[in-house]
Amino acid sequence: MSSSIRPDSRPKLEGSAVYGVDLEVPGMLWAALVPSPVAHGRVRSVDLAPARALEGVVAVGAADLERLLPGAHVDPDRPVFPSGTVVYRNQPVAAVAAPTLERARAAARAVRVEVDPLPAVADLEEVFPEWPGPCADGSPHLAAHVRARDGDIESVFRAAGTVVRETYRTSSVHQVAIEPHACLAEVTDGRWRVRTSTQTPFGTREDVASLLGVPEESVVVEGTWVGGGFGGKGAALLEPYALLLAKASGRPVKLALRYREEFLLGRTTLPSVIRMETAVTNGRIVGRRVRLLLDVGASLPGRDFATGYSIGFLLGPYRTPAFEVEGYAVRTNKPPFGPHRAPFAPQCAFVLESHLDHVAREVGVDPIAFRADHLWKEGDVTPLGQRVGPFGLPSAFEAARAVAARWRAEAGPDSGVGVAVGFWSTGTGAGGEARVRLSATGLAVVQGEREIGSGSVLAGLASVAARSSGLPRERVAVTYEDTAHAPFDSGVFGSRTTAALGRAVEEAVLALLKDLAKRLGSTGPVRLGVDAGEVVVEHGTARRPVRELMTEAERSGGGVVASGRHYGKAGTIDEGKVEAGTFYPYHDFTGTAHVAAVAVDRETGTVRVVRYAAFQDVGTVIDRPTASAQVEGGVVMGLGTALTEEALWSADGRLLNPGLLDYRIPTLGEVPPIDVTFVEGFAGSGPFGAKGLGEPPMIPVAAAVALAVREATGAHVTELPLSAERVARALKML
């Protein structure tokens, strides 16, 4: 499978790629948001008059919505501007636009916002210092409650040889794409048009339509190049405000966040407290209880997916005969919880792997053998009753074990090696569609996603089309169209682009080949090739230039068109085990096993990762450079979660480190060599058996580092990140 240099490399290197923040049209206004000054309070008044007094300023607030959106069916639970209560600091209470950015920011400052403060809660453990009891169900602090079980865990615990109980805490981490959010909106011809940096043009369209209460068909979203998403650009954020200002002013409106606002307004992973209890008899797990308290910020009740979804990653990928899991999504006065890369799974893997490692040590069993003994393999049934599909994790784990043994033998003093695993459900999302258009000289894949960076769109979809058709990669181009013209796709998230949208592309190519076969009069399959610069259709030894098979219309520009769609289905869980809330089945079981070698400074607690290896279950590698790059990038992002990233909140809901100096992502000099190995052959539902790859490499990193630190020093750290101070405390240096 050959691969070419990506077509977006050159414009990005030359500085000509246009991102959301770069957008500019004549006559546009610049917008700014008016923030709530407190984290919790009742809005008494938002006086826009002082802003409107400035020349050229347009302002919109809650009172303007009816006028701007006549007859709109707005969701009362999700007003664009709160007229009752504000629930997080900096929550936008109004928006302004002006001919210059400076005047817009001055206008935003001029708005008089009067909010009667209410007690704000930012600390999860302040809301529930003890685990919530049954009476918590009606609590306004609960966004969701999930509970499931199998067996009577109390009697299992009583009968067990040993029960090990631990509590872990994880921190809030941000996506930190280097590009801030930005969009340019215009309302013309009755259409709400917005150009925006987004991972999900269609998802954004749906969000905007729902928030503004307008029909989806009246909203047109056009994506720009995206400077990184990592889950943070997967839903509408700025677009509704920009569109309202565009409607109010009759002008195009540009709204971009300054980087500080990325932190203050970002929807991301929030803190958690997790209690793990595991019962072991004769070296085998006989029962587990897991309790999760997850901070979901100002999430609305009933709209939380995080808790029911995440809790599965505190159970699997391990077999458990009896279990009880309970999760509480706790509301605090912070921006709502939002998806990060493999949302909350790195935190879960850190907790689960650290805990099982600890359990093994407590009962005197080799920690790696202990986990290997309980690891899922294909055909096993998950605790929630879903059959495990083709699963490369056992293979990946064995390979990781072997590398770890070698590295361990070479490790010096104060060095250690950790092996950790994780799994993810890839190929998710509602589904996707794609078209292909064949000309006399090449194939275009017509679809509705922008390249957000990984290459899954520009390289991955091109590779799928090339491989399915027989054409060389250089003859395939992936083109992008906006939501008014492109076929629907759920979005670039959830490790689904190659696996799910790729399937739609494959289906489109197969439909194309079927059509060409019919035109050729052949009963068997045809392939495409290139001869003397022209595309030819091949069947056996016969080959015809495709031009000869085209109609007049097709020849003069339309090309031969075909479409494909893929709407994947997840498996099912056993609802009989669910006692409260919603749990989620998985699509493709995708495993990942990592090895981290660390050196720990025993006097300061500083951890340095010196070598790293990742074994990734991929089904089939579609484009090797793209795939390797994803693993490398995911591991390094995971190192940030493991060692340095932590968003710190004050008791009154203020983010204390909203900047890249005090919120630290890894720098170039901190990165170890990373060996990437792909485990192929355990097929997923993607084209040629591919599974998704964007998120899994992020998952076991913190776990691998934590286990390596334990092996190096004996320090058992039960909090993330593994800062030098936490390691020092675990080593009783202080």
Binding site: T604, T644, L648, T667, A724, E725, L734
Partner: protein, 284 residues
């Protein structure tokens, strides 16, 4: 940023006159600008006039016998890249490398860093350990102060009205080293740092600790435990312990008080041993 007036006087006299043209809160000095602009963006200060020093002839490095004199508006990177710095003042070289990034150091200056007197400054500790002086110029003429007397506290210096740092003077090359602890190795602020130097001329040690508010300090109690250029491990340990006991340290969101205190002891021991063992006498 609200509108402001930016002036770039071409002479020292003109600069001093500009600084006297308004009350202190309304006139700010701009050297490299990396700190000033960051502060203005954070809402710290809103000067009406900014006096840029870019035209003044202070971007100089002068080696005169043992004495090194650095002009206050010389970009740190230029000092870092001086061919003789790393061998004659290894600790200073290491400290400069710790400041921000290369891009930042192409603009940031010694004078600016001293003038800001941030408690976590990576330069103040080594300047203390090298017995550096600042040469000031102002309406009342010129004067020289030790850095120890110049930096008074967090963001507080002994600068008088309309007074400027013209240069920083290092009296002699010293085996020296600068060690720090931070969350990540590059582009970060130090939680705790220790500069250690040995003075060949008075055969005495200098130990300065940074990251302890309100300002970096020399620790004479620790210095007095080191009785020779080749102190024993016991002497080094005693010096660490005295520093740990003596210093007043605070907790902040970067590190707790106990951890910082522990770091002081650890880094001090390492720094002294590094200089003792000759590591501080040659480039790292």
């Amino acid at each position: 940023m609200p509108p402001l007036s930016l002036v770039a006087p071409a002479s020292v006299e003109a600069a001093i006159a500009e600084l006297r043209s308004g009350p202190p809160g309304e006139v700010a000095v701009l050297a490299g600008g990396t700190d000033l602009l960051f502060d203005l963006d954070s809402g710290r200060g809103a000067p009406k006039k900014v006096v840029s020093l870019r035209r003044l002839p202070w971007r100089t490095i002068d080696w005169n016998g043992p004495i090194l004199t650095v002009g206050s508006t010389l970009p740190l990177r230029s000092l870092e890249r001086d061919p003789d710095l790393a061998s004659r003042h290894p600790g200073l070289f290491q400290a400069i490398r710790a400041v921000g990034s290369v891009q930042l150091r192409h603009r940031a200056t010694l004078g600016g860093n001293l003038g800001r007197a941030a408690p976590a400054s990576d330069l103040v500790p080594i300047l203390l350990a090298l017995d550096a002086d600042v040469d000031l110029v102002g309406p009342l003429g010129e004067r020289r102060l030790s850095v120890d007397r110049f930096v008074l506290g967090s963001r507080q210096t002994a600068l008088g009205p309309a007074e400027l740092v013209r240069s920083v003077r290092f009296p002699e090359p010293r085996p020296s080293t600068y060690l720090w602890q931070r969350v990540r190795p590059a582009n970060d602020i130090s939680q705790v740092a220790v500069a250690a130097a040995y003075s060949p001329s008075d055969r005495g040690w200098r130990i300065a600790v940074g990251g302890v508010p309100p300002r970096a300090v020399r620790v004479p109690e620790a210095e007095s435990e080191l009785r020779s250029p080749d102190p024993s491990d016991d002497e080094v340990r005693a010096a660490s312990e005295r520093a740990m006991r003596r210093l007043s340290i605070a907790t902040d969101r970067r590190a707790s008080e106990e951890y910082r205190r522990h770091l002081v002891g650890t880094l001090l021991g390492r720094a002294v041993r590094a200089v003792r063992n000759g590591a501080g006498g040659s480039p790292p």
